[in-house]
Each structure stands twice: as structure tokens, then as C-alpha cells.
Symmetry: C2
Subunit: 362 residues, 2 copies
Amino acid sequence: MPLPSWEVHVLGTGLIGTSLGLALRRAGWQVTLEDISPTAAALARDLGAGTVDEPHDPDLVVVATPPDVTAACVALALERWPRAVVTDVASVKGSILDDLRALECDLTWFCASHPMAGRERSGAVSGRADLFHGRAWVITPDAETDPQAVALVTEMARTVGAAVTVVDPRAHDAAVAVVSHVPQLAASLVAARLTPLPEEAVGLAGQGLRDVTRIAASDPHLWTQILAGNAGAVRDTLTAFRDDLGHVIDALDRLATDADAPGARAVLARTIAAGQAGHARIPGKHGGGRTAYTTVRVLIPDEPGHLGRLFADVGEHGTNIEEFRLDHGLGQAFGVGEIDVLPAAAGPLSAALEERGWRLHD
Amino acid sequence: MPLPSWEVHVLGTGLIGTSLGLALRRAGWQVTLEDISPTAAALARDLGAGTVDEPHDPDLVVVATPPDVTAACVALALERWPRAVVTDVASVKGSILDDLRALECDLTWFCASHPMAGRERSGAVSGRADLFHGRAWVITPDAETDPQAVALVTEMARTVGAAVTVVDPRAHDAAVAVVSHVPQLAASLVAARLTPLPEEAVGLAGQGLRDVTRIAASDPHLWTQILAGNAGAVRDTLTAFRDDLGHVIDALDRLATDADAPGARAVLARTIAAGQAGHARIPGKHGGGRTAYTTVRVLIPDEPGHLGRLFADVGEHGTNIEEFRLDHGLGQAFGVGEIDVLPAAAGPLSAALEERGWRLHD
């Protein structure tokens, strides 16, 4: 029995809308495209994301506009196609529901969602059919949402290769405030402190700073919309963060004038320990429980081919690499490759690599 | 003409002292070892880091004790071996100088230093001769320090493979407050916010959170000593951080009650933009200027051998990998490999990989 071929209308042909059109058409779905810019819609069509015909009677409408116009477009879609399920892709959910309620929309056929996929580039031209492969797609139905609407949005997300999680909209916003929005701000605020430093001071940067600040390179325009859309939840988490920070500053202030300030070291130790405990909750890859890996460190000359030979050697030995990082030496023409493997695999792998002439850097 | 073989006495046979002994002996230097624990000293000797004889007339004494007893041990060493150059390896420099001045030490032959190498494991048994390979070794002479002392500590650091940078002690502490100590605290404070979250919320964690919080797994005991030793500089940087944070919280608070709050979005945009500007100052690998790389993304099945084949293909094509990251899909048996290469190499590499059957994920 062939799977049903749904008719989907995509409103907004930026990165997400175009990628979705490409992925759904690959799966045999019918896709029509629309954008406030006819040129953008035509570009997405030319890339193969769908047609720009007026949709006949769509089963599903996906609002893939920038977040600041999402609510207005959802309201319009619910009115234009009363028989269709409508979803959106914005990264903040509660404020959109508030706006829709203020517009007195019937939310029976609206099932909000948030694909956790993005890129540092935007626009139809950056669209890829595999953008959602292996990414989370969070579905956030309202109490009013019909279960059939949830089922259709779930089917769409799975069709494009995403892993579906169903979460309450307010819980979603509280969660992304902690796991995404506050980390972004922390990274930006840490990176901003580098600006007044002399060159030689910035030169002492190590891998820790690089990791903490990697996402500080993100786009200010998009992040302003995201943070403004989740202002309440982000404020609440940041306020708790500032309270913790205040205790640390007070402890350091006391230590700066009295190296034996009673209780000050305990505040510092508790802060680092609380971070350890929180960090231990982050799930491992594939969304499974966190696994403790063992790291095998290997010296790698900084020339073509060596990294390839290393991975070929690991592969031949039959060991699966869970994570891999390259740490480059300062002023030296080589790096240290850090290979995370399951603990039981670390010993045999180390022995095999040394046998093949690799210098381990343990 | 053979290089001079210096006589070095290492005080403290933990990870750093033992690794230093191993590396210096490999280079033909004479090394004697001493530790408050005779068992620890004997272990380092058995590992090959040196002898435990009473030093005859050392040219150089390296104090490699925990930071909280470094100053006292340096003072003792200067007194015991008045002809020797004395250095230390603590990660904070100013407070040690203060303590030495309070003890009225003559600092002519003391040249402080800070090897930027460490591990999550400690003790002699974790020592490795190549621990300092390619790492920075910061040398922080005082105004009183004799240039010959600086020269000998520089020679020692270069002998074990480190890259030497000479920095004023106070400038060192101000720099590491910004590039190391505040990032550590920010990571710990972000990670601590995860503790009260429900399981499903933590499940929405992505690569951004993983990067920001990786160093939150660090040891509370060691970090308490480091932060307490640099309390003033860390407090100053954290206070500036808290001021910036306060502006963000105020802006979000106004947006939470009035989505059109005038000027609030500008605060958010400026914060993210300031982070972008600071992030752009972080030097690239090998301590050189920051290079903008182009990222090639490749889908990699999560089975042994595929990553090896990928690197072998990249190596055969002759492209050098500048950085490599593995981003794992949620609930999917594959990951996305992110290969950073010089911009001119990205196009040819992408074409070569597609030709060899790799699916690019751009």
C-alpha cells in the first residue's frame, strides 16, 4: 500500500522553508511555495523545493517566516485554509500563542513546532534536503490542538529525517532558555571581555576559551528576535545566574583583601561542583543517556595524510570513535588528536596505535 | 660541541614535576627529585623522572607543588640553593610575588613561569615526557629577576618542546582571568542551571550547550586554589561581566512586559555583536593570527571505518584539515563531520568528496 502523498504549502522560502520543500518532495509529497518576495519563492522553486502555484486544498501549511511575523502569518493561514493543519518553525513558542489568542484565533488545527536545525548561512540558496537529518524536531501542541494535527506534523518531521519530541509550549520555552538562550548570552558576554585585552594576553587563549565562545560568532539580528521572543524565561534564568555570580564575586572580593576569608573558598568550590553536577546531566550522543568515554590522545603532525592514516588505523582496528577533537599546539607543527571511545576499547586501541608507530600523548 | 647538561632539582613530583623530569632526562639533563611524600618521589624515580639523591649544586630548581604552598617552597629553595635559578609552575603569579616580598626574599634568581599544560588526571603516575609538547610556557620575570635566570628557564621550557612567551606577572594574571578563569566560571554557572530541569528539557541540549559547558567538568579542588590565587583580577573581570549582564536582564525585563519596549532590542543586538567582535580576536592554531576557515560538512554513518575512510580520502586529495568536529544527530545512527579548511581548498575538496560517494551536508 503506497503511503499517502500529502499536499503541503510552505509560507516563507528561507533556509528552513526551502530545505523542508526539498526534503518533502524527495519523499514524494506535493509542495507549493509562497514568499513575500516573489524572487525568493522563484529561487526556491528553481532549486527544486516545490511549485509556486496557488495551493489547491493543502493538508498542511508550514509557516517558515522570520519569528517576528510568525503569529500574524499563522493567523492568516488558519483563516485562508480552514481545513488545513497549520504549523510553524519558530524557536520560541509561548509568545506566538499569546499573539494568536489576542487575535482570537481558533487553535484546533494549529500545532506549533520547532526544528532544532540551523546554519550560520541563511536564504533559499543555502537550503539542503538533509538539513533536518538526525536533528530534534520539537512539537509543542496547545491544549486546544486536535490530535490529528499533532499526528500530521509528527509525520512530516519524521519524513524529513528528524527525531520528534512532544513538549508543552511553555516548558519548551523554559527549556530552551536554559539549554540554548542563556548559553548564547554567556558565550557572548565572555567573548566581549576579550575586546580590551592586549594582543599578547589574547594569545594565551586555550581550547577552553575556544569552546566556551564558539557560538559567540552567531548573528546578532536573528538572536535579537529569538531573545526578545523568549524575554520572560530568559530573564528568569539569567536572574538566577546573576544571583549565583554575585555570590562568587562576593567571595572573590573577600579573598582579594584577606586570603584567609572564612567560607569564601567554600563558595568557589560549591560553584564549580554545581557546574560539574549540571554538566553530568547533558545527554550523550543519539539522545541516549550520558556515557562516560575514555580519551585516547595521539600526536599528529600537521601535514596532509596523517589524520587520514590515524583514522584508517582506528577503523581497521574496529574501534568506533564516539567523539573526536583536534587540539593544536602553540607554535608547533602538530596537534593532539583526542579520540573518545568506550572505556573498554581504550586499552586495546592505545596498544594497537603504539604498535603502528603512533606516539600517544596521555 | 655538546650542549651543556644542566643539573635540575624538581620539588614536587606530581603530574607537572614528573613530566618535566621525564622530558629533561630525555634531553640529557640531570634531574634530582624531592617530594613531601617519599613514596611519591620514589614512584617518579621508578618511572624514570630522575634520582632521589640530595642535589649537589643544582643550576635550576623547579617548584612544582600545589599552588597554595608554592611561595613558601620558593622561599625555602632560594635560601637552600643561593647559586641556583629558581622557577615555579603555578597558574597565578602575582599573589606568589606578594607572598615572597612579605617574606623579604631576594628575587634576583627567581624567575616565575606557568606551563599551560595539564590533564584531568594528576599524580606522578599520569606524568608523560611529552606533556609540554606544543604548549605555551609563559615566563613572568619580576623587575628584580636577573636576565640569566630568564635565559635558563627559557632554555628549559624550549628543551621540553614548549613555546615560550614572556609576560609581566600582573599582566599574566589579568590575562588568564579573562581567557581562562572567567570562562571556567561562566561554564560552571551555565551548567549549574541544568540541575533543576526536567529530563525532557535537558534532552533538548545541542552542540552549543555542549561546547559552552565542556570545561564545567573540571576539578573543584584545583579550581578553588586557582580562583582564590587570582581573586582580585577575576573579581574585576566578573564585575564588568555582571554589569553587561545587568543591561541584558533589564532589557529582557522590559520586553517581557512590553514587546515594543524602546531601545531594549538594541541592547540585545549590541551584546551579541560585542561577543562577535571579541570572539574574532581569538588567535588561530599555532598561535598565529586568526584565519577564517571554510567548513565542509559530511554525513558520516556511525560505524567503524567510515571516519577513517573520510580522512583517508581527504588526505589522498592532499587537503590539510585545520579543525575537525563531529556533531552527532539525535536518535540517528550517523553524525555530521565538520572539516575546516582554507577557503580556497573548500570547493575542490567538496567536489572530490562527492565524487567518492560522500554525501555533503552543507
